[in-house]
Symmetry: C2
Subunit: 211 residues, 2 copies
């Protein structure tokens, strides 16, 4: 099934379905109607049916959804039925926060090493990781079958680094640097731009006040 006809809006709702279904599983709830799912997740029942129909449906009219089956199916759609080797570049506060968060590992994303360009950081230990020298990044990626690079670096130099990474055959970049990276086809960039998120908050607060 190709993503070509599926809008980014639908795609971005999938992890949310996955999270809510995981919560239901934790509560041992085995079956749920789109109406009940709608009540807890906040999308309309029709939206939910429409979203899931993009991937082949799953629900049985009148019977609702099997929670575990749907959770597993959405997990598969999200590519969570396998694991990914990752490296993290930029071992500052944010990089350390991400490296220390066990939830990513539990979901199958295994950070294999931390890299930094700052000589003062290289060799330091962060939890289980020794911080490695960015100069050796290509060799490490090749030797360790790394598919994802997590970038927690400033924008200066980020594009140059990505140019090096894509040559190694990296497939995905999780980018926290406030820059729109250019990558060839076959490489996906997912941005987390904290400033843009904060500015969206201030926009909505302002509009809310003016109403």
């Amino acid at each position: 099934m190709s993503s070509k006809n599926i809008s980014m809006a639908v795609i971005r709702r999938l992890p949310k379905y996955h999270r809510y279904l995981g919560d239901l599983l934790d509560k041992d709830i085995q079956r749920i109607s789109s109406k009940e799912l709608s009540d807890i997740i906040g999308f309309t029942a029709s939206q939910i049916r429409q979203d899931l129909n993009n991937f082949g449906g799953f629900g049985q009219q009148g019977y609702g959804y099997n929670v575990e089956a749907l959770y597993n199916e959405i997990g598969k759609i999200l590519g969570l039925n396998r694991s990914y080797n990752a490296i993290l570049v930029g071992a500052g506060n944010l990089g350390q926060a991400i490296a220390n968060y066990s939830g990513f590992r539990k979901a199958g994303f295994e950070i294999k090493a931390l890299f930094d360009a700052n000589p003062k950081m290289i060799g330091l230990k962060i939890r289980d990781f020794e911080i490695l020298d960015s100069d050796n990044i290509e060799q490490f990626i090749t030797d360790n079958n790394i598919e994802i690079a997590i970038l927690c670096i400033p924008r200066n130099g980020a594009q140059e680094l990505v140019n090096r990474l894509v040559k190694t055959g990296i497939k995905g970049v999780w980018n926290f640097a406030p820059i729109d990276l250019e990558v060839p086809d076959g490489v996906i960039v997912e941005n987390v731009n904290l400033k843009e998120s904060l500015f969206t908050l201030s926009y909505l607060m302002k509009e809310n006040e003016e109403e």
Copy 2:
């Protein structure tokens, strides 16, 4: 001008315009056509004109945009022509990363204090901040005219904390906890869900591979 007719997709593009215009200003570029802006920002020229028309236009046919004027106007639209007092709750790795990032302060978001519920953290100093006891959060918000709460806490207890915060009259919550918070009208929640972002990356990588 109300946000009611403006889609979230447009709103989320505004900070990006602001960033690119800021870059142009740094390079002393004073005027730019929607075509040139399109080349660097990656939206079509027609999309750019349409987006900006939501807020009254700004461009002059054949003359393009005045970069500084447009930067300032979009800043105003985003609510960046003023400052905001904020607190940050949850002084772990992620909380410290955010508290230490000077870019938010430069944009007018002033973190006035860090709070944590862990007795071992209370009293520690992170940069300029002493970590305060979450028990005293209401008093601090009232005394310091705090409008924004930044939540870098686990999901357990997040809703209870928010219930306390909204009673103090807080106007915005920048939420990093993986939970959909319920708040009354008049309070805006902007979520940063890192796991959902990472799962979107794995989805897109999988689809990319299958093509």
